[in-house]
């Protein structure tokens, strides 16, 4: 067995005992209407009349866990074990909670839970490209008090790494679905490490062993047992543990349909059920056997009847057993000493990272995350270069005759459409990938929305400029446009802005809508409208007058106009054998053809900036107010 590591010689966390009495949790089940429909006035009246049912998820659950103990909450799916953890950790979404939850004899509050506990989710939400140590360092910088020096944080991180037995992979990438990294069990331990950095007194874990093989699961629970023995309170939910894991638990709570079937020491569970007349058959895993016993078998009507009868009796038997025990417990009434200290150390919130610190750390993390994923970078560079070469070779060496005059419009429009179109899918894909951790980190209050948004926006700008340069420059010279720095840089600037405008629109769609599919369809439709009203396919003058305003908010139109004005204004075209009556001689005449004769570059740039700003604000507002929950 692995030896016990200690983070600090003086462990800062407090010992906390949890005492839960008669906890009942019910959620409202309003017919089958989705949430938003119930908010409509005509549905509300109907709902309150007959469909307002509340479903009891936890029914009168009582238990007590002391510091240094590990409690396993067992039950089949739907038994309420995850809900119980959620209620204890104050993460339940709505619903009505009754009964008492006491920490060291003090009624628990959200603030206390946030200060003293940590919650490890069932699935790992880690950044794939960071190493184990980097992952923990970033969390440390975001969460630990600012008075700690970098050195001290390093020490803390090293301590956690040692405590979880991760030293051998400290500098290995975390990895994930797409890239190889550390193993599943190690990843699970990193998730725990993230929570341990805050040195919590209480650790909640939802199904910490799911998806791990037998040896790894065993090792995992042993690690948790070590953590518990280091004056922590560990509560975990688990679905049918194997015998070797079961033996590591101190306390066990068996739930079925929200009711307690057994609570007590793990090693006494078989004896308890045996006295009730259900001995565990030989060569059978007791937790398998007793969980089945406590589950209603719905495969047929008869089995449903008999199993629910058994379950009812088990619940009654436990109620009887509990009352006799609690009378005994009443006599040795525990002394509650730490009441004042717990409440007192609560408001010690000063010295924690503020906006600038968060911004700075997130900026570094985001920047690093982009740079480290060099394959993605290379793909994007190749992508912009390919688009540029295609544009350049289609419009190779534009002439200054009448055909060349027309082709220029094609080049300018395609420049304003091609990359802005392609980039939306990248942006949306990226945003929805980031949701994998963003939602949960926001829920853990690791940082604020604004700090995250600013860090993301600013960290991406250098790359944006790089990609735009690669996109614009080769095409410009391949098409043999004017060798004039003024013209080049004006167009370059406009391209950067126009690509950024469609990026902003895309991130608005990405933040607003729940999945990749919807976001990309929406932003594609928006850009299609922008392109149609851009002044190329349809002349701005013949555009249906009721929809002229669409072209006024179209980023593609403003970019196309600005580039056309810049690209044409100094040019003269040859006529060849064409009847001079039908010949376009100057750039100004060409612009008249496309109704751009009044175009001004400064106006376009202002309009583009306005569009960018509007979409950025909309994107931030939706990030702030639309839950960024990842949907798969």
């Amino acid at each position: 067995m692995a030896s016990t590591y200690v983070i600090d010689p003086e462990t800062r966390h407090q010992s906390i005992n949890i005492n839960v009495t008669n906890l009942t949790y019910a959620v409202d089940e309003v017919g089958s209407l989705p949430n938003w429909k119930t908010k409509l006035p005509f549905n509300k009246s109907k709902a309150t009349e007959n469909e307002f049912k509340s479903k009891v998820i936890l029914n009168n659950v009582s238990f007590k866990v002391n510091s240094g103990q590990m409690l396993a909450i067992m039950g089949c799916s739907g038994s309420g074990k995850t809900s119980l953890l959620d209620v204890l950790a104050c993460r339940n979404m709505g619903g009505e909670v009754r009964g008492d939850i006491e920490l060291n004899g003090v009624k628990h509050t959200r603030g206390m839970i946030e200060t003293y506990s940590a919650y490890v989710r069932q699935d790992d939400r880690l950044l794939q490209h960071l190493t184990v140590k980097e992952t923990l360092m970033f969390v440390a910088q975001l969460k630990l008090p600012t008075r700690l020096s970098n050195r001290e944080m390093q020490n803390k991180v090293d301590g956690v790494i040692a405590e979880l037995g991760l030293s051998h992979v400290a500098n290995t990438r975390v990895g994930g679905v797409d890239i190889r990294g550390i193993s599943g069990g190690e990843r699970r331990r990193v998730s725990i490490g993230v929570q341990l950095l805050l040195d919590p007194s209480i650790l909640f874990l939802d199904e910490p062993t799911s998806g791990l093989d037998a040896f790894t699961a065993n090792h995992m629970v042993q690690t948790l047992a070590n953590l518990a023995s280091n004056k922590r309170t560990v509560l975990l939910s688990i679905h049918q543990p194997r015998t070797d894991i079961f033996e590591l638990f101190d306390l066990v709570l068996v739930l079925s349909a929200g009711k307690t079937v057994y609570f007590g020491e793990a090693k006494l569970m078989v004896d308890y059920f045996t006295t009730l007349g259900f001995p565990c058959p030989e060569l059978t895993n007791p937790s398998d056997f007793y969980l089945d016993l406590a589950t209603i078998d719905v495969t047929s009507v008869e089995t449903e009847k008999t199993t629910s009868e058994i379950l009812k009796n088990l619940v009654i038997a436990y109620e009887l057993d509990k009352t006799t025990k609690s009378e005994l417990a009443e006599l040795e009434h525990s002394h509650q000493t730490q009441v004042s200290t717990l409440a007192g150390s609560m408001d010690n919130n000063s010295g924690y990272p503020g906006f600038f610190r968060q911004f700075q750390v997130l900026f570094r993390r985001h920047f690093r995350n982009i740079v480290i994923d060099y394959w993605f970078l290379i793909v994007q560079i190749i992508q912009s270069l390919t688009m540029s070469t295609i544009l350049g070779s289609v419009f190779w060496n534009l002439s200054k005759d009448q055909l060349g005059m027309r082709d220029r419009f094609g080049l300018f429009f395609m420049t304003c459409v091609m990359y802005p179109y392609t980039v939306t899918l990248d942006v949306i894909g990226q945003s929805h990938r980031e949701r994998h951790y963003l939602y949960f980190e926001l829920q853990d209050k690791l940082y604020g929305h604004f700090a995250y948004n600013m860090a993301k926006v600013l960290a991406e700008i250098p790359f944006h400029v790089l990609f735009c340069t690669i996109y614009f420059t080769p095409a410009y010279f391949m098409a043999n446009l004017e060798k004039d720095a003024g013209v080049f840089f004006t167009m370059y600037g406009v391209v950067i802005l126009s690509v950024y405008a469609s990026k902003s629109a895309a991130s608005f769609a990405a933040n607003l809508l729940p999945n990749y599919q919807l976001s990309s369809v929406t932003s594609n439709t928006l850009l299609a409208i922008f392109a149609l009203s851009g002044g190329f396919f349809i002349n701005l003058e013949t555009l249906f007058s009721g929809l002229k305003w669409v072209s006024d908010i179209s980023s593609i139109r403003w970019a196309f106009e600005a580039i056309s004005v810049t690209g044409y204004q100094n040019l003269n075209f040859t006529c060849g054998e064409i009847d001079p009556k039908y010949c376009v001689r100057t750039g100004q005449e060409a612009l008249e053809m496309y109704s751009f004769e009044d175009g001004k570059v400064w106006l376009s740039v202002t309009a583009l900036s306005g569009i960018i700003l509007t979409f950025q604000i909309l994107a931030f507002v939706s990030l702030r107010f639309v839950p960024q929950k990842p949907y798969e």
Binding site: E282, D288, F537, C583
Partner: protein
């Protein structure tokens, strides 16, 4: 008591039911599956794929090592072991679906197992359920029965057979419920798994192989499933399944249990003998523990640390040696030499069965596609109206075309949209509709039911009415609302071109789906190809003559050019444009415009039509070829 009832009822149906599908001549009691000295090696690719392709940097990995086993008729056997132990590979080898090197042999009732023999005698149930979500359970089984059973089977015989497997697997209550998928709820996961198994039972196989059938099911459902499988086996089949950590109550249901570790056996025999066997060699089972958990652990290698790995490897080797010396194994070896000598003079009792005819397959596939789409109202409607809906966007900005100089630009934009949007919308529709059908095709093709030619033809027949209707609505609306050239002939040609473009778009997208197993990659790849070819070659953005020489050749072989030439010519040829004095006037007539943009287009209309129809036919063939070349992915 309940078991024997079920047993009687199944044997009753077996005797009086439609058992003509397989000509099992031999007495079923003597048949058994013998695995003689079986080894299996695969090439493991180390490093990136290009290294493997260029430098043959592959490593041989032994998956199975000289296995000797016997599976008796009327018994259900479980193969257990930790992941990577070779469980699934053993099933693959038995069913002759391998890509590695197999040594040794498998005999079924003394006959050497070959691909054809196994195809008719054995069925393989894969881990994933690939079912069309909108069919009802009975429909799903009936359609598959039409594809599986011989062509002369009557409809009533098929109905009876379907009813029989529904009864066998306890699906009676849900027989007329929709299966459902990830979005629309249908029958439960356990029921879906049973439908997958029922499909494989339709052809009444003698051997049923199942890969992890209980994964993802709750304990009661899993137990119920294994119980019904055991009843099936007892009615006279060989059933072999892999299972990952069976619970003790399920474990007791099997007739035979084999523990695999690193491709070798550490135990094979009755489940009740396992504890005495291991206790005998100093691995007792604690009183309150699941023996199979304990013994799988004992038989696996713990890679937590080098020392543990070393000691556990040694332990596993000892167990393997011990099993080889055991009485059961030695007895088996004697038998297997027996089966070897038998095999040589045994005449094959199996003939490759005659499957259903061309029309039956096509009709079955077609009506299955139709029903599945018809039930899915949302997709059904989007299939018809997504394309016409796009007209709305174009018309709303464009209004009616005029005849001034600016209208030339408007016409170019309009025609560009008319050429580029049909393939795009086709791509969107295909990506929504085809991937589940493709998954189904992969599974059924693996079972050898029909080839890609049938699939593509049936899909084309299924989709053709939708393509024609939605293209007709799209083009009529666009043509008349936007005031294009008023002539019924050119309108007819416009409809035809749009339909052909749309059709080709669907075929190209299907080709993409055949080439890339990942639908998302296929989507972006084909999307890029369509937009690039429209950009370069439609001729509306850049004139053909001003393109660089190399690109001209690319344009010559790309389809949008010819479609664009037809509709461009039809629109412009008779038009005159007004000129405003003192303003530049590019083209006074449509003729002048065509001279610049599509020279000689007028004489090429018939030729162009031949070319685009040729492209369409070519892409239909290419899409079949793509599926053929790329093959069927591993379905695990």
């Amino acid at each position: 008591m309940e078991d024997s009832d079920l047993l009687n009822s199944t044997s009753f149906i077996r005797n009086y039911g439609v058992n003509g599908s397989l000509q099992s001549v031999r007495s079923s009691s003597s048949s058994s599956l013998d695995v003689c000295n079986l080894g299996y090696e695969v090439n493991e690719i180390s490093g990136p794929w290009w290294k493997a392709k260029c430098f043959k940097a592959t490593r041989k990995k032994v998956v199975l090592r000289s296995l000797n086993m016997k599976f008796a008729n009327g018994q259900i056997a479980a193969i257990v072991g930790s992941s990577g132990s070779g469980k699934t590979s053993l099933l693959d080898v038995i069913s002759c679906r391998t890509d590695g090197r197999v040594s040794g042999s498998v005999y079924f009732s003394g006959e050497l197992c070959t691909g054809t023999l196994m195809k008719s005698a054995a069925s393989y149930v894969m881990q994933a359920d690939r079912l069309l979500p909108h069919l009802k359970v009975r429909e799903c089984l009936t359609y598959t029965a039409y594809l599986k059973l011989p062509g002369n089977t009557t409809a009533s015989a098929i109905d009876k057979k379907v009813q029989q497997v529904i009864n066998d697997l306890g699906l009676k209550n849900v027989a007329d419920s929709v299966i459902g998928g990830s979005v629309d709820r249908g029958i439960s996961g356990g029921e879906r798994r049973r439908v997958t198994i029922a499909i494989q039972l339709l052809q009444d196989p003698d051997i049923l192989l199942l890969d992890e059938p209980t994964t993802g099911l709750d304990s009661f459902t899993a137990k119920y499933l294994v119980t019904s499988l055991r009843d099936l086996a007892h009615s006279g089949k060989i059933i072999i399944m892999t299972i990952h950590q069976p619970r003790s109550d399920i474990f007791k249901l099997f007739d035979q249990v084999a523990i695999l570790s690193q491709g070798e056996l550490t135990y094979s025999g009755k489940p009740e003998d396992i504890v005495p066997y291991f206790t005998n060699i100093n691995f007792p089972c604690p009183r309150y523990a699941n023996p199979i958990d304990i013994y799988i652990d004992v038989s696996s290698i713990n890679r937590k640390s080098p020392e543990l790995e070393l000691s556990s490897t040694e332990r596993v080797n000892r167990l393997v040696r011990h099993y080889k010396d055991s009485f059961t194994n030695r007895q088996l070896l004697e038998n297997s030499t027996l089966c070897l000598s038998q095999a040589k003079n045994k005449q094959s009792g199996y003939f490759p069965k005659r499957g259903p005819g061309v029309f039956r397959i096509l009709l079955t596939l077609l009506s299955r596609f139709n029903i599945n789409l018809w039930r899915d109202k949302r997709t059904f409607l989007s299939r018809i109206f997504l394309f016409p809906f796009y007209v709305f966007f174009i018309c709303i900005f464009l209004g009616r075309l005029g005849y001034n100089q600016q209208s030339i630009q408007d016409r170019l934009g309009l025609l560009y949209q008319a050429v580029s949007s049909p393939p795009f919308i086709a791509l969107i529709n295909v990506m929504e509709v085809v991937p589940p059908l493709r998954d189904l095709y992969y599974r059924e093709a693996r079972d050898g039911l029909y080839s890609i030619v049938y699939f593509i033809i049936a899909y084309t027949l299924h989709a053709l009415p939708f393509m024609i209707v939605s293209s007709a609505i799209f083009s009529s609306a666009l043509y008349w609302i936007c005031n294009m050239y008023n002539d019924i002939n050119t309108f007819g040609m416009f409809v035809a071109v749009i339909t052909i473009l749309y059709f080709t778009g669907e075929m190209v997208s299907i080709m993409g789906l055949g080439l890339c197993h990942n639908a998302l990659i296929a989507n972006s790849l084909i999307g890029e190809c369509i937009s690039m070819s429209c950009l370069i070659s439609s001729g509306f953005i850049r004139t053909f003559d001003s393109l660089p020489y190399v690109l001209q050749w690319i344009v010559r072989i790309s389809m949008p050019r010819y479609a664009a030439e037809i509709i461009g010519n039809n629109e412009f040829q008779h038009l005159n444009f007004t000129c405003v004095p003192n303003e530049p006037c590019g083209y006074p007539t449509g003729e002048a415009f065509l001279d610049d943009f599509f020279p000689n287009a007028q004489g090429h209309v018939a030729r162009n039509f031949e070319i685009i129809v040729g492209y369409l036919g070519g892409f239909i063939l290419l899409s079949m070829l793509a599926f053929k070349v790329r093959g069927i992915p591993n379905l695990q």
